[in-house]
């Protein structure tokens, strides 16, 4: 006699009626297949109901359909039903119908034009909320055609005495002129009055509209420059206002409006000294008085900085802006640090001095946990290098190179070497720096940089001994870094005699005198080692040949011959060719020394390399 049980059983056999029940049924599904089955069944039921022109159920059906659509299932068959809902006089129907239209249609679909008439009627409705629905829909998905058709209606509503309608009309106008820029002139005179409105909603949407118009049309921009004093006044009021409960966001009065005003001021002040002058004080005021402990305040400060940077502001104001960014760099919030680095990157070439003051904290950002921040900090650090700070900065960058992600390494090796090239205080420092780069990231060094280093070494005859000793020690320690090996092999090949005669030297520990045998066994280990590739072998073979005339010990020469012999049958054609030709050269002892003389010192410096 369980009435509940019976009715429940009966109900479970009926098609689902209410949205709530459909959602429950879908959520109860344990597998994707179950969900698909429920949805397919319900979709079919809805389709049938639509076909039967079931008016009472239309609202519920569309609601269910929109839910199904949000889950990713097809719902195109509901488009016309949304149109029918919109045509209904019921508010609930229009509300859902317009939502459906915004979700299921876009401006590229022809069906949308069928809504134009309803929109027009509803924009003339006595119920302000219905007017609002129409404006909202048009503002979100209008096509250029609809924009033209309904422009006059929107213009009329822009002059409405109702603030709710006015502000929606303003944003609707934004959409219209984005789609059809030519229609801008229809809104100019009404827009002018919006800027004097007391209602924040109207003011903010009005400013948005004006900003859009100014960005599209240079004449309009000039026209609205006259509005700068009004905007300045609004901003001042917001900054100095006492607590306003309606517009307060954690202690700041209407940050959204402040940001919009600052943005418009930026465009109006750009390239215009007079307008900039008029906004100078308020910008300083906002920059100084805005609380920077929370995101709200920082969002305003950020916009202020962007504005100051984009107008011909006086240097005091610019320094103020850069200092704000400097403070941002120590903020705990990732977003703020990121945004600061981005902005500093854009301005570093203009305000280099001011940015230099924050160098230390920028370098700290190289160790930030967030890779996007590390990336930006790296870019900025390179931009800051100059004659005065090259040693300090290079030291920091080399330290960073040691632990940097692979994606940074190649760019870094190039940039560090270029900076060293530009600003090196002396040759020894220059050579040491490039050597350090080769040791830390020798597998990420571009050919041009390596060539530049070799050129540098060749040109610096007073440091030949120093350089060849350092490279010898480096290779003894590590033959896995390709560029280091190539550089080392080339230098030792050229100046092997200097190395032998050089005696013992200090390199972290005392290195005993280097003998010919030592050098040859080093080269042998390179050839036999797991890191050698064809290029490496080519270099070694040529270097060996050069050493045959640099070294005087005949045992060394014999060993060189043997090592070369080992490659006369090499599968690598280039290697084979060199080995054979060099081996042959031993039969021409008359000319061999001349052939293997020191390379002529190359001219010039490293070219500027991109990236």
């Amino acid at each position: 006699m369980n009435i509940d049980k019976i009715s429940q059983q009966l109900l479970s056999k009926l098609p689902i009626y209410r949205l709530k029940d459909l959602i429950k049924a879908i959520r109860a599904c344990k597998t994707a297949a179950d969900e698909r089955a429920v949805i397919q069944k319900e979709s079919a039921a809805i389709r049938t109901s639509f076909r039967e022109e079931n008016n009472e159920a239309r609202h519920a059906n569309v609601a269910k359909l929109l839910y199904i659509h949000m889950l990713g299932y097809p719902a195109h068959f509901g488009q016309m039903e949304c149109l029918k809902l919109v045509a209904s006089p019921r508010f609930a129907d229009k509300r859902l119908g317009y939502l459906g239209i915004m979700l299921l249609l876009d401006e590229n679909q022809e069906v949308l034009t069928l809504v134009t008439n309803s929109l027009k009627n509803d924009m003339n409705h006595s119920n302000m909320y219905i007017v609002g629905l129409a404006l909202c829909t048009l503002g979100n998905i209008s096509s250029p055609e609809m924009a033209r058709d309904l422009c006059a209606e929107v213009e009329k509503l822009l002059g409405s005495s109702n603030t709710y309608i006015r502000k929606k009309a303003a944003l609707c106008a934004v959409r219209i002129i984005r789609r059809v820029p030519d229609l801008q002139e229809n809104f100019i005179s009404k827009a002018k009055s919006l800027i004097n409105d007391r209602n924040h909603g109207v003011l903010i949407t009005g400013i948005t509209l004006i900003t859009e118009m100014c960005l599209q049309n240079a004449d309009t921009l000039v026209l609205f420059r006259k509005a700068v004093p009004v905007l300045v006044r609004h901003l001042k009021n917001l900054v100095t206002a006492g607590f306003s409960p309606e517009h307060d966001v954690t202690g700041v009065t209407d940050p959204f409006l402040q940001v919009k005003i600052l943005r418009l001021l930026r465009f109006l002040g750009h390239d215009d000294a007079e307008a900039t002058e008029a906004m100078n004080d308020v910008l300083a005021q906002v920059a100084t008085n805005t609380e920077s402990s929370k995101n709200v305040g920082n969002s305003i400060l950020y916009e202020t900085v962007l504005t100051i940077m984009d107008i011909p502001s006086e240097s005091g104001l610019r320094v103020l802006a850069i200092n704000i960014l400097g403070k941002f760099l120590s903020n705990r919030d990732n977003n703020i640090r990121y945004v600061a680095l981005e902005t500093l990157n854009k301005t570093v070439t203009i305000d280099t001095q001011a940015v230099q003051r924050h160098r230390n904290i920028i370098l700290d950002c190289l160790r930030d946990g967030d890779i996007s921040i590390r990336r930006r900090a790296l870019e900025l650090s390179f931009a800051l290098i100059n004659e005065q700070n090259v040693r300090v900065l290079t030291r920091e960058l080399l330290a960073f190179l040691e632990i940097a992600d692979a994606e940074f390494k190649q760019g870094m090796t190039t940039k560090i070497c270029l900076a060293a090239d530009r600003f090196a205080p002396n040759k020894r420092w220059h050579i040491d720096t490039v050597l350090r780069v080769l040791k830390l990231a020798g597998n990420y060094v571009r050919e041009e940089i390596l060539a530049g280093f070799i050129r540098l070494v060749a040109q610096t005859s007073e440091l030949h001994q120093y350089t060849v000793q350092k490279l010898y020690a480096a290779l003894k320690a590590d033959i896995s870094q390709e560029s280091l090996v190539l550089a080392g092999v080339w230098v030792i090949g050229e100046y092997g005699d200097v190395l032998i005669k050089g005696g013992s030297f200090e390199e972290e520990e005392l290195v005993k005198e280097v003998t010919e045998g030592d050098v040859l066994s080093l080269f042998d280990s390179v050839l036999q080692g797991p890191y050698a590739n064809q290029v490496t072998r080519e270099y070694v073979i040529t270097a060996l040949m050069k050493l045959s005339s640099r070294f005087t010990d005949y045992q060394a020469t014999a060993q060189i011959k043997v090592m070369l012999q080992g490659h006369v049958a090499s599968h690598e054609v280039e290697i084979q060719q060199r080995a054979v030709e060099y081996t042959n050269l031993f039969q021409y002892d008359g000319i061999r020394p001349a052939v293997l003389e020191r390379m002529p010192v190359p001219e010039g410096r490293v070219r500027e390399v991109g990236g």
Binding site: R27, R90, L99, N108, K167, G201, E246, P255, F256, N298
Partner: protein
């Protein structure tokens, strides 16, 4: 200029709201949703307990204020539903959209007073309710003529 789209995704990757302020072909929309969901779920969240809100904006826009707009939206939802939770947004997704439509149009903010937004939403809800009860009293079928 302005916000291009707003996505609301649950921690399990279920989409709870998608609002597009730009015209984008359906395939691309799907891709954006997928990519953003993956990106967002992979990162640690500090924002809220159960949902990720994502807004797509243009390069030169002020990201920080967009964050505030998202916060604003969440606050309003919270006030409207009374301690909003994911279930509220599931069963009342249409309301979530209605509220969004009172906060943003064309990707731009239209009202900065929380009170105003809540007031107009409530009034429209009441309008619907009044309509529904009048119809129930009236008892006849829907004819399409206004009262």
């Amino acid at each position: 200029m302005g916000i291009n789209w707003m996505l609301l995704v649950s921690r399990q990757g279920k989409v709870r709201l998608t609002k597009w302020f730009q015209t984008i072909p359906p395939k691309e929309k799907g891709k954006i949703v997928k990519d953003v969901t993956q990106l967002v779920l992979a990162r640690r969240t500090k924002m809220c307990n159960f949902l990720e809100y994502k807004a797509g904006i243009n390069g030169e826009d002020n990201e920080l204020i967009t964050l505030e707009i998202v916060h604003r939206y969440v606050e309003i939802l919270d006030r409207y539903f009374g301690n909003v939770c994911e279930l509220d947004l599931i069963f009342n997704f249409h309301k979530a959209y209605f509220i969004m439509d009172e906060l943003l149009i064309a990707g731009e903010i239209q009202e900065t007073s929380k009170k105003s937004v809540l007031r107009v939403i409530t009034q429209q809800d009441q309008y619907e309710e009044t309509e529904a009860s009048e119809q129930a009293k009236g008892g006849n079928s829907w004819t399409g003529e206004g009262k």
